[in-house]
């Protein structure tokens, strides 16, 4: 697949939240302002891009040659958590206000990040492709997180049945958004890329 194809696939066609249902908890269901959502989206997108490359390096250069493929899950989980801690340290130096808005433990255990690492590793991507795929998945994650926060803010002032208020309505809204994203399918990809 071309790099353009990887970007469109990971950002839209195979969106990590709406198609794979990864990271729904953090992007759809977490209450918070748009500022916090943007912060979380940016930090998760950055973590996805870096984690995809680190995951490739861990898998290709260490685990598979040494015959420890069965340790992929603990290795990837701890690598992502460690990278999240490093990202927090770096963010704290650059912008302390940014760190206040983002819950880094939540970013670290976000299954979307681990999911992207697993997809790129199992998909046999190269280091460059993993970086592009991770960045594109991060872009898709950021896009959906911001969209869902905007929807959530609009829904808060609407009259809805009490039983649906809060989490159930957020999940239903995400489900409807997922149906809307089905417009970005393989045919769309072929049309855009002229294939």
């Amino acid at each position: 697949m071309s790099w353009g194809g990887i970007i469109i696939t990971f950002a839209l066609v195979d969106n990590v939240i709406l198609s794979r249902l990864l990271g729904v908890r953090h992007s759809v269901c977490m209450p918070g302002s748009m500022r916090a959502a943007v912060g979380t989206g940016i930090s998760t997108a950055l973590l996805m891009a870096v984690s995809a490359v680190v995951g490739w390096a861990l898998g290709t250069l260490a685990l598979v040659p040494l015959g420890f493929s069965f340790l992929q899950t603990p290795a990837f989980v701890l690598a992502v958590a460690g990278l999240a801690l490093l990202l927090r340290q770096a963010a704290a130096r650059v912008s302390p206000a940014f760190v206040k808005d983002v819950s880094f433990p939540e970013v670290a255990v976000n299954c979307a990040t681990l999911g992207v690492v697993l997809i790129t590793t199992r998909g046999g991507y190269t280091a460059g492709e993993s970086l592009v795929a991770g960045s594109a998945a991060g872009l898709g994650y950021f896009l959906v997180t911001v969209m869902m926060t905007a929807i959530r803010e609009r829904l808060e002032v609407e009259q809805v049945p009490r039983a649906l208020r809060g989490l159930p309505l957020h999940l239903i809204s995400a489900g409807l958004l997922a149906y809307a994203f089905m417009a970005f399918d393989r045919a769309f990809l072929a049309r855009v890329l002229g294939g």
């Binding site: 249902l21 990864l22 269901c29 069965f70 603990p74 989980v77 255990v109 039983a163 989490l167």
Partner: protein
Amino acid sequence: MALDAGLGKRIAGEHRISMLLLGLCPAVAVSVRVIDALWMSAGVFSVALLAALCGALVRRWGRSGEGAAAGATVGKWMGALALSSCLTACFEVVLLAVAPEASASLGIYAPLIAVNCLVLGSAGTGARDSSITRAVLDAAEQGLGFSACLLLIALLRESLGAGTITLFAVDGFNGVIAIPSLARDPARALGASGAGLLCLGYLGASARLLRWRGEGREKELSP
């Protein structure tokens, strides 16, 4: 608290419902077939149970020794992650040996059990709670609630979305039960990922209604 006495009340609690829904989110992706939901439930149940048990044992051991000093938040958090991911890796190895088809079918969702909030919560509860029995019972209750909800969603999605119910294949039976009236014209939209989120949302709303009805709080039903 006895498992059967507290189960309904604890699963139906507002916080529990939210935790359950959030824990179900990634797992719902494999709820297109009942058999996949069964394997995923088995994985989350066993990993959560063992994580709670190991967490409680580590806590007890840590109290009596110098391990109590290692109580820094980051250390505990990384410890819970390491515990849940190692147990998940064990589950993956067992699943690959016992049922390779199920392992392939679950794909990337089997490793994701490690960061499921129910599993991490169980590991955390086990680490905080002084009673091992209580920690294990808590994890068992959550695991049962998770399994029941995931199987319900899978049953709904597969029966209405494909007109079949896929179970384990045994001698002379391929494991697929076709529902005659639905198999001809199934609602294929229920097989899409969005349907999983819709089912989850309506399940959460239904659980709330049942809870309110159970508590006799009819006034809360009015808009």
